[in-house]
Amino acid sequence: MSGIKDNWLLKVRNLTKIYGEPNENTLKLTGPSCNSNICPETESIVACADVSFDLFPGEVLGIVGESGSGKSTVVKLLYFDMEASGGAAWLKPFSNGHSNMLDASNQQKRFIRNHLMGMVYQNPRDGLNFRFSSGGNIAEKLIMAGNLHVGNIRDRASGLLDKTEVPVRRMDDRPSSFSGGMQQRVQIAKAIANNPPLLFLDEVTTGLDVSVQAKVLDLIRELQQELGIAMIVVSHDLSVIRMLTDRTLVMKNGRVVESGLTDQILQDPQHEYSQLLVSSLL
């Protein structure tokens, strides 16, 4: 069982994001034990602190917690949408996992974003450019990976839209004319355009009505099974977590209060907050 330790795809250690000017007591005075993420001495805000985990290839990790618990911050830091205040993260396909990707140059970060990661945001406006057609949005990812052949781009884009069940004849329409569920599927098509080994899903079903939610979840599950993409699923919805994930982190006030197998978190939660969370659902 020793070999299994080195099998990670993404390794995250002490990932921290603090807004404002923290002092040496900030981390001690915030967190779930203080029930706050605002430092009383400096008023700095600890969005997340000391988040550590390993993600294996093809594994689906859930991050669950209430609004403001820092769960979205974690994926945004890893996708370089924000800059971390501290901590490190290694991604196996990036320099064979030897260098901290958070310290990479902007060009390297862009390479990682384009080739090694995909992100699906809660709001399609964050992930899609509404001034481009849905095909153009996918083209952007393909172009960034060096594909400059319009014919090939259109073939690949229509294949992806087909896979995500967006009518291919709407490829040249702007996503602003699409329904919410369809926008979300275009976003997914864009995110997986370059076959990344890692996909972040940030509250992807929040705000969709139930039947559309189900379709989006089914799509994600199918893609996971078919392509074996590792995923980090951020959600406050425990049924989404139950349906998609193998392991789960529970976050509160910017800290991970519990991590474990998803069925264990749901059936035998240890931490006070996890118990509250689970009991509110069931």
């Binding site: 450019n129 481009f132 095909g135 952007e140 960034m144 319009v150 040249d172």
Partner: protein, 298 residues
């Protein structure tokens, strides 16, 4: 009595004071060193409003010497109002010789055209640029576009070309087709027609671009690679006039203007006025050479 020649003229030579000229020249040297890179500069007050050719004027006046021969055109014409006024202003401020003849001129200022006649190593060619930022159409924030240039992150530009092709079946950029300079920066060649874009490539002359309102200078040095952006399967092309020819000279191998004559008939005429005059008079002319022009029978 000692004659004070220094103050006999109300203005400094070429209007702009020497230290400001120095600043502009310094910025131009930087621009030469980094082909296609937009260098911010002071853009001092001029007696014309910004957006009316101040950038071009700054460059021309900062570089002009007493021996220079100045030519200025506006969309190919030496005689348009804008060109005439600026020519008069430069002449008043410098007493330099001015000309219409492209081959004679040493300093040519232009709005929206490159001359039809080929340029030589001793010529400076100055563009008046309204919008120096080629990425402005896809990204409205300056700090973002600067970062995109810095990191050569041009995917959005390419997507806009893709979108244009998808929407209209062609890359429908009439003027100001984006080019990549020296394999690095994407540059707006000012709104010159596509016809002129290939002539920026590996030129003998020095091309200088001044955007007064936007306070940017940039340069394409001689013998620099300038390529229009194109996909592997969707290529750049110049305007095609499909067999039309100039009604005065019969030439079909020049950028043509559409013209409605007094009798209501539509004709075409060579846009470059000096080139037209030379052709009409039967004087010898040497046109630019590029692979697109080679495909047109003259």
């Amino acid at each position: 009595m000692i004659e004070n020649k220094k103050y006999s003229n109300k203005y400094n030579f070429a209007f702009i004071d020497e230290s400001t000229k120095k600043e502009i020249r310094r910025k131009l040297l930087k621009a030469v060193a980094i082909p296609g890179y937009q260098v911010p500069y002071s853009s001092p007050e001029m007696p014309i409003s910004r957006g009316w050719g101040t950038g071009g004027l700054h460059v021309s006046l900062a570089l002009i010497g007493r021996d220079d021969i100045f030519k200025i055109i506006d969309q190919g014409s030496d005689a348009s109002v804008n060109a005439c006024n600026l020519r008069e202003f430069v002449q008043m401020m410098t007493h330099c010789k001015v000309t219409f003849d492209t081959t004679e001129a040493t300093l040519i200022q232009s709005r929206h055209r490159i001359t039809e006649e080929v340029l030589k190593a001793n010529q400076l060619f100055v563009f008046q640029v309204p919008q120096p930022e080629p990425l402005r159409g896809v990204e409205r924030y300056e700090n973002k576009t600067r970062q995109m240039h810095g990191e050569a992150d041009y995917a959005k530009m390419w997507v806009s070309l893709y979108e244009s092709f998808v929407r209209y079946g062609d890359i429908m950029l009439g003027a100001g087709y984006p080019v990549k300079v020296n394999d690095r920066y994407i540059m707006a060649p000012s709104p010159i027609p596509r016809w002129d874009v290939p002539n920026l490539n590996q030129s003998e002359a020095l091309f200088l671009f001044g955007a007064g309102r936007e306070k940017r200078l940039y340069v394409v040095p001689p013998h620099t690679k300038v390529e229009p952006l194109e996909f592997e399967d969707v290529k750049f092309d110049i305007e095609r006039f499909l067999g039309k020819s100039c009604y005065r000279t019969g030439s079909g191998k020049a950028f043509l203007d559409e013209l409605f004559l007094d009798d209501g008939s539509k004709q075409f005429v060579v846009n470059d006025s000096n080139y037209l005059d030379k052709l009409a008079a039967g004087n010898p002319v040497r046109q630019h050479v590029n692979k697109y022009l080679n495909t047109i029978q003259s």
